[in-house]
């Protein structure tokens, strides 16, 4: 009997999809495999490749035993193909085919749409590893270094997940797309990654934490809506990926939280109450709260752009086709077809920001973005609790959705973080107070010195409250190879 719960190791590629009896796909993946290993080996600095990292590896899709923690050299990480178990009699959850049996094969009429969605999702996975490739050199602790690598290897596994779908269901052009996923490079002139936010570099650890909090959360929302797909293999793939994605959210939320905690602590120790006393705070080697707000403004708004146009026929088509659902589609209580429902979206009318009712079907992107904003604001609230607990008068806030946008109705408009429309000159004069300047970046960069002693943390970040896998504070999460 085919074991669909546990990973099988009878091929070079661990999987729970019975690869050993699917010769065509196995051959295609084995052909793709060396290119992937080359991509990985060219990417991460060599001394880290040789180091032993305490990583979790997915070994099953049964929640009771899905992952194992152990020391692994990253090039020997078992990237596998894992799909959540097939739900019995699963139905297409939304759109015009709602209620019909979910597709086990690609429906011909939606082939291109589906392929494009998988390629876009697949493209973001290696892109973020490329963006983060040099961070290991400035890790604030072995704990953080380990978390970075955990995120990296899992993004690698998510690439595998998408490549499997391309190879399995899309024949020759699927294989071509899979090759292109390794050909494009984040930030490259000739062959950049497909989405803007994934071509920005991640220059420092605060950016990394903001990225995993805000940008990976977009990834989470996209995975959530693809997990609702009527194309069952895609749904099952994404459902399992979400289990891993939760760790990436964790790295972001606790990372930013620990930076804030440390800043507040050092301010208190030195009798500084004014969070805007920036020079004094920076002189103590921690990142001032206004700068953290600026980084938040930047990463949040870049991530909003990833949701595309507020009103979009592509999104409407994908929903109507049953290819991509809404966030928590199965928990929503409506007709799941949106034939007559409406939804409020932002728009500009005569230069004014207004709320406008549009057919809900066309507002799928906006709705997902609203769900995203709600999800993202939770962590901001918890960060504020840290500041509040320290007795410092300061509140982090998510900027208005019109601020600093490049896609959608607000694209290239001039708005302040509260959503007030500004003139060009007024905006330019105030911009440095809202978005990180080069000087801010240089300051943060000046703090980025590696701390590789077990149990020690760089001065600008607090230690975590609990270790990974319940390990004690001085656990050697990475046994560095220092040759």
């Amino acid at each position: 009997m085919l074991d669909l719960i546990n990973v099988s190791y009878d091929t070079q590629i661990p999987n729970n999809v019975g690869l050993s009896s699917d010769k065509r796909v196995l051959k295609a993946l084995e052909k793709w495999h060396p290119g992937y290993i080359n991509w990985w080996n060219d990417l991460i600095p060599d001394n880290f490749q040789q180091s032993l990292v305490y990583l979790r590896t997915a070994v099953s899709v049964d929640p009771k035993g899905w992952a194992k923690f152990d020391y692994v050299k990253m090039p020997e990480y078992r990237w596998g193909i894992l799909l959540a178990p097939q739900a019995e009699d699963r139905r297409i959850p939304c759109g015009e085919h709602a209620g019909q049996p979910a597709w086990q094969e690609v429906p011909g009429e939606y082939r291109n749409m589906l392929k494009r969605l998988i390629v876009i999702q697949g493209d973001t996975e290696p892109a973020s590893v490329e963006q983060q490739r040099f961070l290991g050199l400035t890790a604030p602790s072995l704990y953080d270094l380990r978390n970075l690598f955990q995120v990296n290897v899992e993004e690698g596994r998510h690439l595998w997940a998408m490549v499997y779908l391309l190879h399995k269901y899309f024949g020759a052009d699927g294989r071509e797309e899979a090759d292109d996923l390794l050909r494009r490079q984040s930030g490259s002139e000739e062959a950049p990654r497909m989405l803007g936010a994934f071509n920005e570099e991640t220059p420092d650890w605060l950016s990394f934490f903001m990225f995993t909090y805000f940008t990976d959360r977009d990834g989470k929302m996209q995975l959530e809506s693809l997990a609702q797909s009527g194309f069952d293999p895609l749904s099952r793939t994404c459902r399992f990926m979400l289990t891993e994605e939760a760790h990436h959210m964790f790295v972001g939320e606790t990372g930013v939280g620990r930076v804030i905690e440390r800043t507040c602590q050092v301010m208190k120790e030195n009798g500084i109450d004014d969070p805007h006393d920036i020079d004094r705070i920076r002189a103590l080697g921690v990142i001032d709260l206004p700068t953290i707000q600026k980084k938040l403004n930047l990463h949040y708004t870049l991530s909003l752009d990833l949701f595309g146009q507020e009103v979009s026929t592509n999104a409407a088509n994908a929903f109507n086709a049953g290819i991509k659902g809404r966030y928590m589609e199965h928990r929503l209580d409506d007709d799941h077809k949106l034939q007559s429902a409406t939804y409020m979206v932002w728009d500009l009318e005569d230069g004014k920001v207004v709320r406008k009712e549009v057919p809900a079907l066309t507002a799928i992107n906006m709705r997902l973005r609203d769900d995203y904003t709600r999800d993202a604001s939770g962590g901001v609230g918890r960060w504020n609790k840290i500041i509040d607990k320290a007795g410092i008068q300061f509140q982090l806030v998510l900027p208005h959705e019109s601020f600093n946008r490049a896609i959608g109705v607000f694209a290239n408009g001039r708005f302040d973080p509260t959503g007030r429309r500004l003139g060009e000159a007024e905006y330019d004069a105030a911009r440095a107070g809202w978005l990180p300047s080069k000087a801010d970046g240089d300051f943060i960069q000046s703090l980025m010195k590696p701390q590789y002693e077990p149990g020690q943390f760089a001065g600008w970040i607090a230690p975590p409250k609990v270790g990974i896998d319940n390990k004690p504070g001085d656990y050697e999460y990475v046994k560095l190879h220092m040759a």
Binding site: D62, K68, A246, E253, G378, V466
Partner: protein, 410 residues
């Protein structure tokens, strides 16, 4: 007189300061016992059946918190939490049960506490030990295993029938760490007509399986003349189906530190966890003779007692483990024509080596076997420590507190 005190229950709670509200646990819980409001993710004590499915999926560790309570906290109370309430003072015996819990059902927890008593105080896991999973399967919800093999480990004429039993779980997860135990439920009912309670056996295979990657486990079981379960287990045939509970045990564990030095003292089937430790180390270290690519390897020393070589489980396989990996002292008490030698006698003969191990903060000691061995081993340790000017009970208590001294006897 006061009203009789309620029996406290163990309540599953989530630490709101650590939780990031990803709701992965909520999606995983089949009973929908986990829910959230805008503030917190909480567990409904009325619905939770301790199935533990939510524990491994949590990215933060906030899910793995427990409180002993006379009355469980309601969902509404938990929604209001900014932080976890402290454990109420219910007396140390009760409160202590919430941390480092060896098991969740009381009967099993009591058995293990009893087995660990010889350490002289509350057992603690090595600080670097992997986090064990406990109570995945219970008397009410056991997992069915299939016997993959049953091999006699001792000579036919040795008078001792010790078996190596291999169980597979047909794809069901059974995440067990070296040093943990599992329960086997013998078929049938007792004199009162109730089903038999599980009997506990130490797992003798490493965490990645008796065969690497296969998730199967092995046990080392001795046939006891009147033993209900041991006779059942020793008579099992390949293909037989067995009801299993566990895993159990959260302290008798291997440090996840290649530099740690292991001193293992065992008799008879007490060798089961030692076999698991040895195999784990050999596999994890990759090379048969040392650390990963020249990395640190603390090494292992074993004092293993039996009546004769013919009745010593794993005598053949042990001989194949190089002394550079595992320094072996196989000690026999019934060799015709030789004087009786017990593990404590050999420890005394090796006193310099043992003293050196005792003085090293990287040393972890494991003692496993029949209760009867405890005294002799303690006396040997006391004598060796004290001849070096160290008080044994102080050293033992310190080592135990640091998770470096482990006893499991029965």
């Amino acid at each position: 007189m006061n009203a009789p005190l309620k029996t406290p229950v163990k309540q599953h709670v989530i630490d709101p300061e650590i939780c990031i509200r990803c709701y992965t646990c909520e999606m995983t819980c089949e009973l929908e016992a986990i829910t959230h409001d805008d503030n917190n993710v909480v567990v409904d004590a009325g619905k939770c059946n301790y199935c533990m499915s939510c524990i491994p999926v949590c990215p933060t560790g906030s899910i793995d918190n427990w409180r002993m309570v006379p009355d469980p906290y309601s969902i509404e109370e938990q929604f209001g939490w900014e932080e976890l309430p402290a454990q109420q003072d219910l007396g140390t015996a009760v409160a202590g049960a919430a941390e480092d819990a060896e098991a969740i059902d009381d009967a099993v927890a009591r058995l293990l506490d009893e087995a660990h008593r010889g350490a002289g105080g509350k057992a603690r896991a090595p600080v670097s030990a992997a986090k064990p999973t406990v109570n995945l399967y219970t008397l009410g919800h056991p997992v069915e295993a299939v016997v993959q093999g049953n091999y006699r480990l001792t000579h036919d004429d040795s008078g001792s029938d010790v078996r190596h039993i291999i169980l597979g779980f047909e794809g069901r997860p059974f995440p067990v760490l070296e040093g943990q135990t599992l329960g086997i439920i013998p078929p049938g009912t007792d004199a009162q007509g109730s089903p038999h309670l599980p009997r506990l056996y130490s797992v003798s295979s490493p965490r990645d399986g008796e065969r690497p990657g296969y998730g199967n486990v092995s046990l080392t079981v001795k046939r006891e003349a009147q033993g209900l379960c041991s006779n059942y287990v020793c008579d099992l045939k390949k293909g037989d189906r067995v009801r299993v509970t566990g895993p159990f045990g959260a302290t008798f564990l291997l440090p996840d530190d290649p530099a740690a030095r292991l001193l293992m003292i065992c008799t008879g089937t007490g060798s089961a966890p030692m076999r698991a430790f040895t195999m784990r180390r050999q596999r994890a270290l990759g090379r048969a003779d040392g650390g990963p690519d020249g990395g640190p390897d603390g090494g292992m020393t074993m004092f293993f007692g039996a009546r004769t070589p013919e009745s010593l489980p794993y005598f053949g396989p042990l001989k194949k483990v190089p002394q550079s990996v595992l320094r072996q002292h196989l000690v026999f008490s019934r060799i015709p024509g030789a004087s009786r030698e017990y593990v404590q006698d050999r420890m005394m003969a090796e006193r310099d080596a043992v003293a050196e191990l005792l003085s090293d903060p990287d040393t972890h000691i494991y003692i496993c076997g029949l209760k009867g061995m405890e005294d002799g081993v303690e006396k040997a340790f006391a004598s060796i420590a004290e001849s070096g000017g160290t008080r044994w009970d102080a050293l033992r208590d310190a080592m135990r507190e640091q998770g470096r001294y482990h006893v499991e006897t029965y």
